[in-house]
Subunit: 437 residues, 3 copies
């Protein structure tokens, strides 16, 4: 992948002015996408203020298993400790700052620094430090840790101040009815695909949030997904065609007792959205031919209904859930002009590779589509680095981008925010099909 | 080529102070050659305030042909539209900023963005944008364009504000009598040679503007060009030797009705200079053996007279014109410490490769010389990056450098300048041989 | 080696505040190790204010021999001139700033610029510059030079203002009694090993100054050196064991009239420290098996006594001196996150390779140890770049690091310092064994 250089001379931006002047319905002004100063703000006020997905629990099944996760310049050790508790620590020794774990993954009884052998328990407490002077209190030198939550087998971490974290229980409570049937804790990783993307993370997110570009850019996606008939072109005819397809499926899905529709629980810090809709006529899974991706259905399911579900956890994790596999799309900001896109595919934990599923068949749709998107995003970034780039107007099919930008600017506009504890009764949003199309 | 890193900590320069303190007769202070801040000023006040040569028209003979040209961080699409008109657009979609053209050259009916398929006419007008909200006016979203002028087959663009452009007609009127005989519009590209040069553009220009370094550095050039006898060493004897050689040629050239001498039409924004002089005794073209470079003479010419012409269009394009071929030396600033030197060689459009000319023979003089210069310039830049670099005094043979620096500082010293419309009658400068040596 | 990127947004640090707030007994705050701004200060106030070792005189035995030395962005020409005098010049032509010497080493009668042939005597005086304007005085254009001192065959240069240089005679007078027996001027270079280390130079120095990390990191070093029994673990038992070993050796060494013990002449600008101690029981040289490294002993020596000496010249040169070879460890700051570690091994000038010594055997201990350290230092730097890095407490075995940091902060805290001319009688410090353990 081609490296794109960050812009120079960008250290004196009037941040608040840029936020105030931002025109609704338009893409962001240039520095939001190109300036290291703005990336630093993104990090402090947006990225580190949201729960970030790191991986599926099956990566660290045993005590002492660990892997490293990199986000916005920070390396985090994710490890399983006593009583199956998952921990997340900054990979920085409290003695002289060395990296503690040098391998990307492995198993350790303790986290021992390779430099002077300071040794930490898996939960981060300093266990051993030789020859320290009088008055040294090991309790002062636990590893810097992140909050961790595991939800349906998915590990989330929070890198900001504890008291400012969005209310994870609220998120979980709202999503559980929709996600529970798939029993994601009982899945395993079928395959993982990486797409290093040298571009600002917000261009990655905007790309994912709209299907205005599907027709020009994604023939495979268009042939797979029914909704492209309307949001690929936005015409009344397309809308009507999809409505017919959708309603036909709706009957069937409801008859099978499946979730349907669209649900957006309000959450000030971390955008939430779940929907479940038809794939397309006669398709049971989001595969190249519409046939099954895996012989074992997920969780409790006993039959396909031809639908697939979508979950957004903030802007950096999206779950695309067919009845027999899940694609976890994780968009990770690395630096101003550097992002990582990683797709982790889950199947039933008892499914057997080569017998029940083929990794390339499971990976197909989102691999081919994401590869196309990575190229698009890089070319988008290059143009946005031009002195002549100006914010452009969103089309009627890019409403999700507008919503994202609005939410982003709100998070960015103030370092101090009230905590996100909501006085909302989750029962008010119990997922009755809010048919939005 | 080796990459040179830009200096750090250079964001707080007192620009006006540096300009004021600059000592006449000396090279520039360090930051002019090393600081991204000064490069940004160069871009705004010098590079984008002069007509920049991009290429010969023969690169885009047909409607829809295009190529990309890169200058100072900007990518420009040069394309031929209706009625053979040449257009130049910034390669930035007006929707979300994506690159429009991804290939370096090709042919297109329209410029269609690969992202969301916004489509632009070759003249830059927005032709098609699906599903835009009410009130959207396509006329507001034409591509950002540059002014274009084609002069004798050479395409020039102007990237600054239209009203501030140097008067191209004035340039053309003054140069036409000198350049017309070669009929450059009726040439074709024989070969192109690239010399990526990781150095500030002003070091590239200074290198080209003086022959004080010819003796130590350019044996091939010295054996080819007669004038080196004086400006390679600057002695009275050298001067006298050249005067004899020059006068012998002068008789002959005048008898053949050819232009001779030196002419410098005043132009506040874009330095102009043309001269025509003897190559050396017995040489008819600037080739390794003094023999012809191409069997077909340029334009109207029927015989060699043993002279060659030099044209400067500002500091970034120089034409070296023998009677049978042209070397176009284009020096393009790319970044603070990054320049491109490209030499395009033109011969008569009917000349046949392998029969009338050999590309390597045509390219020889300026290829070998420019290769030597690229190395020199890189080593110059390295020394100039030292904390101990101090401006040094120009010799008597570096007067053109002094003139360049003076003109450069004048352009740099004020963002706002009066327009360059001159109240000068071109007839006052009709190119009577001003024998300057 | 992996490149580490410098931190962004580090141009506005409150330097004095950082110095004032630095907590004694702790590693430095992050910007000292990561910010280009602090590196610039290091350069001006520390690196260029100390005598820096460049190489052994045997690299340039003849008049006109030269080599290039790079430090903190500057390239220095070290050359031997008339009357065997060694000179050091910045590799920057006084005309237009070009590099003068392009090869890393060689021999020249004069230093002639490859650009315009300005030519300088080996002592730096401008010898020849063609065609300069009236009033040009060659005396104004000598090369920028550094002070040079040669001590026992070791070349030192000083890059700062002459009047601020630490008193080299004082250093020499104090060290001579300890170093003279080895006759380093009568050695030759056996082999050289390079360790490019992408990390801040202070992390390199801190790594070298303590043996707290020897046990976890350096098995070969631990099996070779007796002192590790105490400062590798710091226990009373270790201390006692070493004391026994040391005293056994002390008898023998004194009987042979050898220097023993520890000596630290006070010097405000350039830390000085020399010691001589036992290698370990039954070892005569610091080799893998404790046997000789070279069949010819150094200088005046007639027999091994089983000891080895250590000399610090500031923080950037350390001499590890066995009776039959010397390892010169030179730590050179190159940029904020870039250092060079070069080890030059010296043996008796009459020793014959393949007969008296094998380069790999001579190099063994410090090559294997430094290779391990380079990896450690890089991982240390990576962790220190984390937002969550915080200064950590030094152990009881890292006292030398504390001393270094204290001294470093003192040098950094003021641009203006009194000169280092000491009113101290060197006889007060004549190296009577100050047994410090």
């Amino acid at each position: 992948m081609q490296k794109i250089d960050a812009r120079q001379l960008d250290l004196t931006h009037d941040v608040e002015g840029f936020i105030d002047r931002q025109q609704p319905g338009f893409t962001l002004e240039q520095p939001f996408y190109t300036s290291p100063e703005f990336f630093q703000l993104d990090k402090e006020r947006v990225i580190f203020r949201q729960w970030q997905f790191v991986d599926h629990v099956s990566r660290i099944p045993n005590r002492g298993d660990f892997f490293l996760f990199t986000i916005a310049g920070e390396e985090i050790i994710i490890t399983r400790g006593d009583e199956d508790k998952i921990h997340a620590h900054f990979n920085v020794c409290r003695h002289r700052g060395s990296r503690l774990c040098l391998e990307k993954q492995g198993r350790k009884r303790r986290l021992t620094c390779p430099y002077h052998a300071w040794s930490f328990e898996l939960d981060g407490r300093l266990a051993n430090a030789r020859q320290m002077p009088d008055g040294f209190d090991p309790n002062d030198y636990s590893l810097h840790s992140c909050q961790v939550r595991v939800f349906e087998g998915l590990i989330f971490i929070y890198l900001g101040k504890e008291e400012e974290a969005p209310d994870f229980d609220y998120i979980a409570d709202n999503y559980l009815p929709w996600i529970a049937p798939y029993k994601l804790a009982d899945t395993k990783i079928a395959t993982v695909r990486h797409f290093p993307t040298p571009a600002n993370w917000k261009l990655v997110v905007e790309n994912f949030l709209e299907c205005y570009h599907c027709r020009p850019s994604h023939p495979e996606y268009c042939s797979t997904m029914g909704h492209v008939t309307y949001d690929g072109d936005g015409t009344e005819e397309g809308m009507e065609k999809y409505r017919v397809m959708y309603n036909r499926w709706l009957e069937k899905a409801k008859a099978q007792g499946r979730k349907v529709g669209y649900f957006e629980p309000p959450c000030p810090d971390q955008s939430l959205r779940v929907s479940r809709q038809v794939i397309k006529d006669n398709a049971v899974s989001t595969t190249q031919d519409g046939g099954p991706a895996c012989k074992k259905l997920l969780g409790d399911l006993t039959d396909y209904d031809g639908g697939d579900a979508f979950f957004a956890f903030g802007e950096n994790l999206y779950l695309l859930v067919s009845d027999d596999y899940v694609a976890l799309l994780r968009f990770t900001p690395l630096d101003t002009l550097e992002s990582d896109v990683t797709i982790t595919y889950l199947v039933h934990k008892d499914a057997e590779e080569g017998v029940d599923y083929e990794p390339d068949r499971v990976a197909w749709l989102w691999e081919v589509t994401t590869e196309q998107d990575a190229k698009i995003i890089i070319d988008n970034q290059k143009g946005v680095l031009s002195d002549r780039y100006r914010p452009g107007p969103y089309s009627k099919l890019e409403g999700n981008c507008e919503t994202f930008i609005r939410h982003y600017l709100k998070m960015l506009s103030a370092a101090e925010r009230p905590t996100s504890k909501l006085n909302i009764n989750p029962d008010d949003y119990t997922g009755e099909a809010i048919f939005s199309i």
